[in-house]
Each structure stands twice: as C-alpha cells, then as structure tokens.
C-alpha cells in the first residue's frame, strides 16, 4: 500500500466564484462536526481513470475542511491487474470463465496490502472491486466501512459477483453511480455520483488561441462540424460503433470525427482495441484517432470546447464523467442510455439519449440541423452539472454520508 499525496491543490475559496459563497459556507458548516475525524480512501491506481482524478481533487479539499484524510493505493504486480481487469469486464457482463487461480491471486494481493496498514480510520472508503477484500482486516472496533463501486453491476458475471458479495455484504453501506447497478443486499445502498473539478486543467476556461493551436496540432478543421468522443480505447466505450454512426452522419453533413483517449495504468487491453479502431477508420482523413498520454488534460479540454457535438456511445458505463465534462462546457451531448449516463442526460432537457448506432447517428443529425436546440441542451446541461456533478457537491455528499453514519441515521 502506498500513500498518495494529491497534487495541484486549489483552495476551497476559489470555488466560490463558480458555485457561490453560500455553498462554501455550507460545506464548512457540514464539516464542522467532523473536524479532526480520520478518513481513509483506498483504490488501485494513483494515475489514470476517473477515480484517481476525483481523489486527487477531493482529498486536498477535505484536508482544507480540517478532516484527517489520507489516500492509499494498492500495490500489485501485473498478474493482479490482469485478474482485476478480467473481473472488471466480467462484472460488466462480458464472458469470463472463472478460474480458481484468479480468485487466489486476488485474495493474495489483498492480504499483502492488508498487512501494510492498520485500516483503523473512523471512516474507511474502499473504491471498486480491487481492494474489496480488505474488509477482512476490519478491526474489531467501531469504525465505519463503505464500499464505493464505480462500475456497472447491472449484468454481472455470476461467479465473480458471488465471490465479491461475500466481502461487500460485510460493509456498512455501498454506494453506486446508478440505481440500475444496485444488488439485492441486506446493507443500505446509496446513489453517489462521481464529479468533475471545474477549476482543473481539464475543465477550466481556455483561451480561443490555445484551442486553435490544439486543432492545428491535430489537423482538425474548425470550419466544419466536429464530433468527438473522449474515452479510453476500451471495447465497452464502443469506439467502432462511433465510427459507424459517424459514417451515417457523413452522408448528410461534411463532418469530422475525433476519437481521443489514453490507456489507464490498470487497462492492458487498450492497445488491442486501438488496432481495431484504426482498422475501422480505414485511413479516412476526417477521422482523427488521438492516443493522448495518461494526463493530457488541457488537450482534452480544448478538444471538448472545439467540438460541435460530444458523443459517449458506451455499451456499458460506470458513470461516464466525460459526459459531465462536455455538459460543463455547454456542449450538446448524444450518449447511450446506459449506466450513469441517463442521470446526466435527462432526455430532451440536458442532451439526447440513443440506444443504437442508427439512433446515435439520427440524434447527431437532428442536433446538427437544429443548432438552437443544441445550444439550449448545452445550457441546461451546464446547470445540471453545476447542481449535481461538481467536486464541491461530491464533497458535500461525503460529508453527509459520514454525518449520517456517525449519527446512526
């Protein structure tokens, strides 16, 4: 287990310009009864992926509220991350033949990590399946353990879920990104949204000049519609389906497609998917496939801001924070009605939902034909994110959760 020291600290007061001084005052009021209380967050990666991104922002803000918070990352060799990637895909419903050895590897690394820390913070927050078995190290005292699951458990592989459930059911509560992911459990289950940081490099306002530089760098024409999907090269994000939708739209509109993403450190399949995407693109000069380094937040920000429409055509999705990122930038979004996406896209209010390649193409054509509706959806989407999916709201939910657990509500 390694402690992570979060980077790029932004003072809490800086968020007052975005969310209002009243929100900051109320965060301080909610945190007051929790001052000095200990909290430990544990996940499996310090870099790449939405969870690490959120914790990098959340931990310093919680410290500023005088909470005694630390963030630890599990240690594991390649064999562990291969197993957890298989588990991840299996929990998303992909075919997987459960092997006894995989479960043994999973338990062995959990045990090794368990020995490295006392796990005695008053509030233990364990993120995702990788460290779920750390609950075996729960001290006999009265600390609170909650499991935050960021992935879609609506159609899990039975063997993997049955294995995990033995651990999960021993937590005090579980938090999911969508009610669709909830399971039949005897412990309380809560809806907990991920969040974006409006002041991070990925979401902060940018100069038009910088946006133009990024477009020039990747030879993207700002005069023609730009359709963009930002996501890892992962089959569950259906990048090939996006290319098929683009080809339908292309019959009617002279548009470009940008597929931009990088691979998270715990995602060994990315390179294989990228090959499939390049094959599907078939050297079309209007399809830009950009393999960005793990953290290229300013480029992602610029690409989203330059987009005419942002797409998130996932087959399965934990939450899909790229949707909130695009909405924050007032972009019209066309996305699949899976996982946490319908929470962000209230159909016809904050964006448009689709259920197929053809449906995605149709909604894109509709928005390209009705820019005034696209603008209204983008404006509503921005407000929706401001109310529900900013890091300050996330912090508020955690404070409410800890208060609720503490009060035994």
């Amino acid at each position: 287990m390694t402690e992570v020291l979060a980077e790029n600290h932004i003072p809490l007061e800086s968020y007052a310009d975005v969310v209002g001084a009243g929100e900051i005052e109320e965060l301080r009021a909610l945190a007051k009864p929790l001052r000095g209380r200990s909290i430990e967050m544990i996940n499996s990666t310090a870099v790449g992926g939405g969870v690490a991104e959120i914790l990098n922002r959340l931990v310093p803000l919680a410290e500023e509220l005088d909470l005694h918070i630390r963030w630890d990352v599990m240690q594991g060799a390649e064999e562990f991350f291969d197993v957890t990637k298989s588990f991840h895909n299996a929990l998303h419903g992909e075919p997987y033949l459960a092997k006894l050895q995989d479960f043994e590897i999973f338990l062995s690394y959990n045990e090794q990590n368990r020995k490295m820390l006392p796990l005695d913070a008053e509030f233990m927050v364990i993120h995702d399946p990788q460290p779920a078995a750390l609950i075996d190290g729960r001290p006999s005292g009265s600390n609170h353990w909650v499991w935050r699951c960021h992935i879609d458990l609506s159609h899990p592989n039975r063997a993997v879920w049955d294995f995990l459930e033995k651990f999960v059911s021993r937590y005090d509560a579980v938090m999911f990104s969508s009610p669709e992911f909830s399971r039949q459990l005897t412990i309380p289950q809560y809806l907990f949204y991920p969040a974006i940081d409006p002041l991070s490099e990925k979401n902060c306002p940018l100069d038009a000049e910088f946006v133009q530089q990024v477009l020039d760098r990747y030879q993207i024409d700002p005069q023609r519609p730009i359709l963009t999907q930002i996501s890892r090269f992962d089959r569950l994000k259906d990048p090939v389906g996006v290319i098929r939708a683009y080809r339908i739209v292309k019959r009617y509109f002279d548009c470009q497609l940008v597929l931009a993403g990088g691979s998270a450190s715990d995602d060994p399949e990315g390179a294989l998917v990228l090959k499939d995407v390049l094959r599907a693109a078939d050297h079309d000069p209007d399809i830009k496939i950009l393999e960005l380094p793990a953290w290229a937040p300013l480029e992602v920000n610029a690409l989203q801001r330059a987009s005419t429409i942002v797409i998130q055509k996932s087959l399965r999705e934990g939450f899909g924070l790229t949707v909130s990122e695009a909405l924050w930038k007032k972009k019209p979004v066309v996305a699949s009605a899976v996982g946490g996406i319908p929470t962000q896209i209230i159909h016809k209010h904050t964006g448009l939902l689709a259920h197929s390649v053809e449906g995605t193409a149709y909604q894109i054509r509709f928005l390209l034909s009705h820019p005034e509706i696209a603008a209204k959806l983008g404006e509503n989407g921005h407000q929706h994110v401001k109310e529900n999916f900013l890091i300050t709201q996330k912090l508020k939910r955690y404070l409410a959760l800890f208060l609720m657990l503490d009060r035994g509500q």
């Binding site: 929100e23 009610p179 209230i346 109310e387 409410a400 208060l403």
Partner: protein, 219 residues
C-alpha cells in the same frame, strides 16, 4: 423595525439518495410501486427532484412524469402526473393517493399500454436528509434578508420547499416565520405564492428579495 422574539435559524441540508428495492418496467409496475413504496420515496421523486432539477423551468415537474414521458412515451399520462402541484399537499399520503389515482385511471382506460415495457426502468429511491445549523439567524427583516442572500441552493430548498411537508402546512419556513414572528402576513403570502415550478431557486430567491425590499421601503 419589528424584532421577533423567536429568531429565524438558518439551516443547511445535504441529501443522500438511498436506492430502494422496487423498480418499474412498465406503467402497471409503476402503479404497484406507487402503492407500496415508502413515504420517503414519494418525497424523493416529487419534492426532492424539484430542488435537484430546479433549473428546468419548462416541462419538468416530477420523476414519475419525466419517466412516463421519456421511457413510455405516454404524453397524456405524463401531463396529468406533471400537473399535480406539491404545494397543494400537506401529507405524502394525499399525494400518493392522487399519483395512484392518475396512473390507475390511465391503465384502466388504456390496458394495452399498462404492460408495455418502457425503454429504461424506473427505480424507486428515497432521500435521507442530513441537516446542520448555520451560524446565522435573524430577528428582523434586515437580518433575514442578509441570511437569505447567503443561503446555498440546498439551504434555500430546505426552507422554501421541503419545509411544506415537514411543517404539514400549506406554507414554507420563510413565510411561516415572517407571518408568525414579524406579523408580516401580506409579505408572507406573496412569498408563498412564488411559483416553484416556473422559477429556478435563484429566480425564486431574487423575487423574494425584491418583495422584502418593497416591504422595507414601506416601513
């Protein structure tokens, strides 16, 4: 300026959404869910959702109406569900009775639509309210206006919308205090008549502040 014996204590609230065990795949399931879900669930999908989605001032009223529209495409039923105004209710039981009546009547008249699957399922959830006092109270109109200006959306929602149910009154915390403690009944009534469906929380607050300004000028 009048000073109240009982101060108005500003509070902030944060809400957690607890996922329930019921869900609906069609209108018939929705009716069953409405009949059996907890009071906290009815509150969550009507009162609470209005606060969460306050910025949608066109065509959004409650989660039941939105799901009926977007997942089952039954505009007529969605309209009837949306037309139920939470300000008319002082108990969840009465609101539940009307929600059930509207859905039951529709299913009786259109049995062919009652079992038709929606695009997405509806999940019954509940709100868990966690409140904390703010270090701010008011004994007169000036202090009240000051406190109102500094309140977050959650705090404003707590006092202005969810209070109706908590107090089981056809009013809200603000109007109740202005009337009962400062004797400002006309101002209290005007504030109570601000439409929570066609205003955002910000525009409702702005109207309230204008009404208070007008009252102060009278004094």
């Amino acid at each position: 300026m009048n000073a109240a014996e009982t101060p108005f204590d500003f509070v902030t609230a944060s809400y957690l959404t607890r996922i329930g065990n019921q869900s609906a795949g069609n209108l018939s399931d929705l009716l069953t869910g409405l009949e059996h879900c907890s009071d906290a669930s009815i509150f969550h999908h009507t009162f609470q959702t209005l606060g969460v989605h306050h910025f949608l001032t066109e065509g959004f009223s409650n989660d039941f109406a939105q799901w009926t529209l977007s997942s089952t495409n039954r505009n007529d039923l969605a309209e009837q569900l949306a037309a139920l105004d939470i300000r008319d209710y002082t108990s969840i039981a009465a609101l539940r009775t009307d929600l059930c009546r509207v859905v039951r009547d529709f299913c009786d008249v259109h049995p062919q639509f009652a079992s038709q699957s929606g695009l997405e399922r509806f999940y019954f959830c509940e709100s868990v309210e966690v409140t904390v006092p703010l270090a701010r109270s008011a004994r007169n109109l000036d202090e009240f206006q000051e406190g109102l200006q500094h309140l977050s959306h959650a705090g404003f929602y707590f006092h202005f919308i969810s209070s109706r149910l908590r107090l089981q009154l056809q009013t809200n915390d603000f109007s109740h205090w202005l009337s009962a403690s400062l004797g400002l009944r006309t101002l209290a009534d005007s504030i109570n008549h601000i439409d929570v469906y066609t205003n955002t929380l910000d525009s409702a607050r702005a109207k309230m502040l204008r009404l208070i300004d007008r009252e102060r000028r009278k004094g």
